[in-house]
Symmetry: C2
Subunit: 145 residues, 2 copies
């Protein structure tokens, strides 16, 4: 058995698992406000900056448009967002918040705190978090090129 092929020696498996378990932890919180985790990400993008083309949302989330488009259609069907043709560039589809979508920001405001409680553990503290953030940002930067 090659040492490198062992699951316990793999960074990737840890990230994959941590990501999935965190999404699961979000589930009950986001269910309350009627969002899935990827939909919550889209809403965070729009709360920061409304009226964005599909492409910009996709880039911000490191997703492809073929993932984002169906996501947005479901969110439109739920009444959280609206989609309209771009005026300058008719190829673009501009995504904007509906009143319902804007109002959701208030309801979601407690989610980060509640998640903070859920992921609270010895290894992640005020002191160590910035280092972890830098490492992940570096990794994401490397892989997204």
């Amino acid at each position: 058995m090659q040492e490198q092929l062992k699951l316990d020696n793999q960074l990737c498996f840890r990230l994959y698992t941590a990501s999935r378990l965190i999404t699961q932890a979000y589930h009950p919180l986001l269910e309350e406000i009627g969002l899935t985790y990827p939909q919550y990400l889209v809403m965070m993008v729009l709360w920061e900056q409304d009226n964005m083309p599909v492409n910009d949302i996709a880039k911000r989330l490191y997703l492809e448009t073929n993932t984002v488009t169906p996501l947005l259609k479901r969110m439109e069907a739920e009444g959280f967002i609206a989609r309209r043709k771009g005026e300058k560039d008719a190829r673009q589809v501009i995504v904007s918040l509906t009143p319902k979508g804007r109002k959701l920001e208030g309801k979601a405001s407690c989610v980060p705190y509640q998640m903070g409680q859920a992921v609270a553990c010895r290894s992640i503290t005020e002191k160590t978090a910035p280092e972890l953030f830098r490492t992940l940002d570096d990794l994401i930067g490397t892989l997204s090129k």
Copy 2:
């Protein structure tokens, strides 16, 4: 705009993105040997310990059996593994490597090294990796309870 609701302040989004980008980086390597990333994880489990019940594989990967069962069926259809009823406990399904599946370990032996190259970045070194591993293990431990 609430500071905590910003994407850039979220650990979860970083993990989610890093995980996805790593899986994408695996894709061309695993395509060579005919596996998807989750299938590769299952193979790593079996290369370490053959003849495992579905449940044990699922637990090892922190997945549910309703995810693993279809995965295993596809891998069985590809001829990498075999599934048989447990002798002692007729409810169990024991998963074992086929000769083709065992032979794959040799072909996969270069994958960890190649992935190491792909994720190589300033922040992840011989020195910092153990710390990162501990942090993620702690997080996974906390969330999986």
